[in-house]
Symmetry: C2
Subunit: 218 residues, 2 copies
């Protein structure tokens, strides 16, 4: 059985949870409170020297970091990560796009807007984050204007990876009305079998500490 | 035959060239001058709406962006990208680490230090870039202190992806003497069969415009 070390409030951790739920995987979710410094404690650093969640424990000798690498591992051999070389390359293209051109702007803007005080100096970053974030969203909008999903008209890891923070981009100050194709795609993702929302607390992954968490966080 | 649209001076493009050379692939290199605005011209945007290089043209209907997705495609079925699920996941983990935690700091610091004027306002970014870049290098140093290569004691795409900008980190103001394990690993990469340096101008990929380019650029 997998163990997932994650913070329910993190979109990168939510990706893993959504994929595991949709794959009907059995896993144990171990809540890690990044804001309280849990990922900087020696016991966690012994598991992941990078001090980051999510972290997948396959067994005691095999620990995997990086949300998108975890997605590729758990979805291997399933339609979420097609075997076809060209389809798989396109899925990976969108996953690298997400980590390089989308998450560092859309997720960080949301973190600043939602979780830092209104007078926090990091608000000075927002104009640049919005500019770059809108560039990423415009690329998605254009691509999705003639497609149901990001790759080959099928729901894949590319959709899961990009859904996590796009769905909460409004919280970062991104006016999403400008992106009708993205909004229609978000609804298609939400309509997928075994979909769970970010704030979901379920049987397979839930523990008591999650019950009070109804917000999502960068 | 592949076509690769790339700028010889870019580390992300160099990754693709190095892999193709080591795979003995036949390809045509099409030099794109990002600094002169080539990637913003309509003819290039028609190929890649993101306006970025490298771009791999498999055939006229199949174009692939994102350097690390291109590496996965061209190395599919070869030892550079192992078929084993766990090994492959680890390779992907390091490739996502490279794009999220290494390239945005190490490559950008180098770009600022080497290619912008000494009084450029972007120099104000350097303290933060150095702090984050050193965090990434420290993680590599720790990992490589007991290993020959990043994954499973074999040379893989993970090494190619992280070699590209680590080899020129000094140019960004990173004092690499602090990282002996990284330096030994850089030498092991350089000793791999069919290795080509960044400034290399070769038969398969060379065109006349490259001959004058003997520097490497973010």
């Amino acid at each position: 059985m997998y163990k997932v070390y994650g913070m329910s409030l993190s979109g990168n951790c939510y990706k893993v949870r959504l994929a595991l739920e949709q794959l009907c995987a059995i896993y144990r979710w171990i809540e890690v409170d990044v804001l309280a410094g849990d990922t900087r404690r020696p016991e966690f650093l012994a598991l992941n020297p990078q001090g980051k969640v999510p972290l997948l424990e396959i067994d005691t000798d095999r620990l995997l970091a990086e949300s998108n690498a975890i997605l590729c591992y758990v979805a291997d051999g399933t339609p979420l990560f097609p075997d076809d070389r060209w389809l798989r390359a396109q899925v990976l293209q969108w996953m690298f796009f997400e980590q390089y051109s989308h998450e560092p702007y859309v997720a960080v803007a949301r973190f600043i807007c939602r979780f830092l005080p209104e007078n926090h100096p990091r608000r000075a970053e927002l104009p640049r984050l919005h500019e770059r974030g809108h560039e990423a969203l415009a690329i998605m909008e254009r691509h999705l204007s003639s497609r149901r999903f990001l790759v080959a008209e099928s729901y894949t890891l590319a959709d899961i990876a990009l859904f996590a923070y796009t769905q909460v981009a409004e919280e970062g100050g991104f006016a999403m009305a400008a992106y009708p194709a993205i909004q229609a795609w978000l609804e298609r993702v939400r309509a997928q079998p075994a979909f769970v929302p970010m704030e979901w607390v379920g049987d397979r992954g839930g523990d008591s500490s999650q019950a009070a968490m109804d917000i999502s966080l960068y």
